[in-house]
């Protein structure tokens, strides 16, 4: 499903380069729940951004299903991102000016889904995540856990095949974190491939494989 070969990412600094990722070769199959771990600055979030096609400045090979990402133009990468990927962030990153329902609606509207259909999907998702009563609230009116719940719901509302999560429980207390991880487990069980970046050993146990990064290299 995902195949990275000799992927590298660097920044120019002075006359030389500073590498963030070095020679990353990695395969992830459908339905896997992979955890990327490693110390700060190891390149975990950068790898996640590249996998999600939010970062296009790298070298090497990246194949997603049958798509050869490294040969695609940025516009085509955006299309694939829209088709396959959902994102969950540590800081939730809900849009402050939009209500819970509108936050859920946004990814669907970006995928040109008709309004009536969107409304049905949003209503279904609100129900599934137990947020019907909160649909008209703004993010600032929710607790951290509730906000992350909305963020997760938003990331999967368009049924992505891959869910990328960057420290999804980093800002939550343990009980809320556990609930989110349970949710991920359910999503994974339902067929969603999940790749999470975390420092938490406990969270890592929800996955079925751990990839360790150190100084940009995959630790063997």
């Amino acid at each position: 499903m995902i195949a990275l070969r000799s992927l590298e990412k660097s920044y120019p600094q002075g006359g030389s380069k500073v590498f963030v990722l070095r020679q990353i070769t990695l395969d992830i199959g459908p339905g896997e729940f992979v955890t990327i771990m490693g110390p700060s600055g190891a390149g975990k979030s950068t790898l996640l951004a590249i996998l999600g096609m939010l970062d296009g400045e790298w070298t090497g090979e990246y194949q997603l299903f049958t798509h050869v990402i490294h040969k695609l133009k940025p516009r085509d990468r955006v299309a694939l991102h829209k088709q396959y990927v959902g994102f969950v962030f540590q800081q939730y990153h809900l849009l402050d000016d939009l209500t819970v329902a509108e936050n859920l609606d946004i990814p669907l509207s970006y995928r040109d889904i008709k309004k009536a259909e969107r409304q049905a999907i949003v209503a279904d998702t609100l129900d599934r995540f137990g947020m019907v009563a909160k649909k008209d609230l703004y993010p600032r009116q929710l607790s951290g856990g509730q906000q992350q719940l909305v963020a997760v719901a938003r990331s999967v509302i368009h049924k992505p095949q891959i869910l990328l999560a960057d420290e999804p429980t980093g800002n939550l207390h343990s009980e809320q974190g556990r609930e989110i991880m349970e949710l991920f487990k359910q999503l994974n069980a339902a067929g969603t491939t999940i790749i999470q970046v975390t420092h938490s050993e406990t969270n890592a146990t929800y996955g079925n494989r751990i990839v360790q990064l150190k100084d940009g290299w995959i630790a063997r």
Partner: protein
């Protein structure tokens, strides 16, 4: 469409959630769009809207044109009207009009009314139907049939309260009865006269068509071009006619005399077009500054919103969709600014018209109409795209991954700050250009009002009277009544002195003539001596306090039967008798070869008196005693008073009434007011451009303040480190001020270069001042630098109060 509505809804909400930003941006844009809308409403009314006549693009005016007399354009004469209107190959129809004041009596207090005498084709040619009754018929322009009148709408309302029964009633004008046959609609406006109370047929006597009346030019001409005839062709044909007429009428026409055909629409905007376009340019510049300021605000917001944008991208927003959302927000902001701007314009247009004090063409229909609203909408949309584009682009370039990683902290400051500084520099440059333009107009205006008019304008009341032909049928009785009026005024307590003249300075009328000067041979291809001719009472020049430079004033002995005399002004002496004593020299209206030549002897020389304007080019002036030259039917009086001239009006009325109880006073004014009015168009342009320049400067300084504040916030850590390392507040203050000063100086330098190139278009609006006047340029540059320092001072002060520990910890 549905997603566009969604973008629209979210954009409105986002703006409402940031009221501080929204209010400042909307007000900034409202000022820019409002100013543009207001000025465009004038441009629309003056330059774009069609004239309110049938097929107005077929209407032209014909003028006598004298290239060697400062390109003088004169109306046509009666013989001229006959010659030109006879050209059926050029004109489908033609008409002339003659505006005059007549005494309306027999219905209460006698009053002077403005009557426009028109020839037969006048109304059919313009194609405007009367609102009531009928207009004048072609055959009524004949003696005996001409005692009919058509009222203007305003006069009908004012005098008859809009009573339809006014039709058929009689009016007594200059002691002759006229029957009211029609009322013109409210929208009808005579092209050449701002205020016509009524129209009556013009009747010419056979003597009026005599060849010696060819230079008696007082009739504005309107023609409707024949089918297929263009303005250019009419011009070519009439030029050929002028060339043919020059030879048989050498006494009337100079060798370069010509005929000028002008489209009526061009004639309407003549004299105001360039000024209006300059003002439109100025408000466009103000709008650009407003755009730059809002773009600056948006850029500041961009930094804070980078996370929002990154999240949207992460959720699948395509660059196009994202750009559309961001631009939607800008357009919503601009439309809100446009709406408030239109409200400002609705309030501003009447103020603008009041300020213009009658300096706009009479046919101008200035107001906020559908075209102006369309303009405001287009400008708003354009503005939204203009100021929204740079921030949207900036945002699209944001490093998404970094934005998300930093948890929404601002990113990309460096390029954003560069852009913001660039915007501030350009606003300073544009503001400086406008300020230089305004400065030039202000200095120019100061020079105009500083011109010595050649007489004492203070404590001077002016008015005019008109003697009807019916009541005062010959010269003798007219001279008698004018002399009695003069005497009665001079005998009135509170009046220092009074005098009469055929043309009151700054009164809007003038009369000129060519003449010959004794001992002066006109060089080949040079026009004859030509200048202002005045009939005056002996007390006129002393009343005006004109300086007698040589010889004597007129006396009561200068009357019919005594040797013909005149007083000339210094300008004439300077031109024709530069090195000889002019007293005793002579002028004549005859040619030197004329067997019955009538000489007029110069008995005095006075200083030149400004007449048409303080800034008008000097024409030579010749004064003749009214008692010696026959009593003209109308005379202006100037009355020198001890106190407020208008307060003496009652006494003046009493004096006039003691001579003729039915003689109304017209054009009552103080001379100070007349002079002030004569500078109206300059004042209008100066105040508007000055206002816009001030607005531009304020917006530019707000922009600079914004950028400096932002810079201080961005540099808080650096400033904290400096303070922690021992920098004192003076050094920090200097550091920030210097940064502001650098931006301002860059803007000033660019602005000076721009102004140097741009102000040349204002050359014709300036008086005795170069368009690159160094003093103006220097003063404005210093002013702007001072303002920039003030705008940078507050952020600089804030910089000195940075708490090093706080600044370092927050990083």
């Amino acid at each position: 469409m549905e997603t566009l509505l969604q973008d629209l809804r979210y954009a409105v909400r986002s703006l409402l959630n940031h009221p501080g930003f929204t209010v400042v941006a909307v007000l900034t844009l409202a000022l820019g769009i409002g100013a543009n809308t207001a000025i465009f409403s004038v441009v629309n009314g003056v330059l774009l809207a069609p004239l309110p006549y049938r097929e107005p693009d077929r209407l032209v005016t014909v003028n006598h044109f004298y290239p060697s007399l400062n390109n003088l354009r004169a109306p046509v004469s009666v013989p001229g009207f006959r010659d030109y209107s006879a050209r059926a190959d050029l004109f489908a129809s033609a008409a002339v009009e003659n505006g005059m004041a007549m005494n309306l009596t027999g219905s209460g207090e006698p009053e002077r009314v403005n009557v426009t005498l028109v020839t037969g084709q006048f109304f059919p040619l313009l194609g405007v139907a009367p609102a009531l009754g009928r207009s004048l018929q072609p055959d009524e322009a004949e003696a005996g049939k001409n005692h009919v009148a058509v009222l203007s709408w305003g006069f009908w309302q004012q005098k008859y309260g809009g009573d339809r029964g006014a039709l058929g009633r009689k009016l007594t004008l200059d002691n002759e009865d006229y029957e009211i046959v029609g009322v013109m609609p409210a929208r009808f406006q005579d092209f050449f006269s701002r205020r016509t109370d009524l129209f009556a047929p013009a009747v010419f006597k056979p003597a009026d068509f005599a060849d010696n009346r060819r230079t008696n030019e007082y009739l504005p001409f309107i023609g409707r071009l024949a089918p297929g005839v263009t303005v250019q062709r009419a011009q070519t044909e009439l030029h050929a006619l002028a060339v043919r007429l020059r030879t048989p009428y050498t006494n009337s026409y100079s060798p370069d005399w010509d005929l000028k055909v002008t489209a009526l629409s061009d004639e309407a905007s003549r004299g105001v077009r360039s000024g209006l376009l300059i003002l439109l340019g100025a408000v466009a510049a103000v709008l650009l500054i407003a755009c730059a300021n809002v773009a600056n605000l948006q850029l500041a917001r961009t930094a804070a919103r980078a996370r929002d944008v990154a999240v949207r991208v992460a959720l699948g927003a395509s660059p196009r969709r994202l750009m559309r959302y961001l631009l939607t927000e800008s357009v919503v902001l601009a439309l809100a600014g446009g709406a408030v701007g239109v409200l400002l314009a609705l309030w501003g247009v009447p103020a603008l018209l009041a300020l213009s004090s009658g300096n706009l063409p009479v046919t101008a229909r200035v107001g906020v109409d559908i075209r102006v609203l369309g303009f405001a909408l287009l400008v708003s949309l354009g503005t939204g795209l203009l100021f929204g584009f740079a921030p949207a682009l900036q945002m699209a370039r944001t490093d998404l991954h970094e934005s998300l990683k930093e948890g929404g902290r601002s990113v990309g400051h460096r390029s954003s700050l560069r852009l913001r500084r660039g915007l501030v520099v350009s606003t300073v440059a544009v503001a400086l250009t406008l300020l230089v333009g305004a400065g030039l107009l202000i200095r120019s205006f100061a020079r105009v009002v500083g011109v010595d008019p050649g007489f004492r304008p203070d404590h001077l009341l002016t008015f005019s009277v008109s003697l009807s032909q019916a009541k005062y049928p010959n010269d003798t009785v007219r001279v008698q009544v004018l002399e009695r009026l003069n005497a009665a005024l001079n005998a009135t307590p509170g009046i220092v002195s009074a005098g009469g003249t055929s043309n009151i300075p700054f009164g809007g009328n003038w009369s000129t003539s060519s003449f010959n000067v004794e001992g002066y041979q006109v060089p080949t291809n040079t026009p004859m001596p030509w200048g202002d001719m005045r009939l005056v009472t002996p007390t006129y020049l002393p009343t005006m306090r004109a300086t007698l430079k040589a010889g004597r004033q007129f006396s009561d002995a200068d009357r019919a039967g005594s040797p013909a005399v005149c007083i000339v002004d210094e300008e004439l002496v300077h031109r024709y008798w530069p090195n000889v004593d002019p007293i005793g020299k002579r002028i004549t209206f005859n040619s030197f070869t004329d067997s019955s030549i009538q000489w007029i002897q110069v008995v005095g020389v006075v200083g030149h008196m400004a007449h048409e304007g303080l800034d008008a080019q000097k024409r030579v002036q010749v004064y003749f005693p009214v008692a010696q030259n026959g009593g003209i039917p109308f005379l202006g009086f100037t009355v020198r008073t001890t106190g407020d001239p208008l307060a003496s009006l009652g006494a003046v009325r009493g004096a006039v009434r003691s001579v003729d109880a039915e003689l109304p006073l017209a054009n009552v004014n103080s001379m100070d007011h007349l002079i002030e009015q004569s500078t109206g168009s300059r004042r209008f342009a100066m105040l508007l451009l000055g206002g816009f320049a001030l607005l531009a400067m304020t917006l530019a300084s707000i922009g600079l303040y914004g950028v400096m504040s932002y810079t201080v916030t961005q540099r808080a850590r650096e400033l904290g480190v400096r303070l922690a390392l021992g920098a004192d507040s003076r050094e920090v203050l200097g550091l920030v001020l210097l940064q502001g000063l650098k931006l301002a100086l860059t803007g000033v330098a660019i602005g000076l270069l721009t102004a140097f190139a741009v102000t040349r278009v204002m050359k014709n609006m300036l008086f005795n001042l170069s368009a690159t006047d160094p003093l103006t340029f220097l003063a404005i540059a210093l002013l702007l630098v001072a303002v920039a320092l003030v705008a940078s001072y507050l952020p600089a002060l804030r910089a000195t109060r940075v708490n090093p520990i706080e600044a370092l910890r927050s990083e």
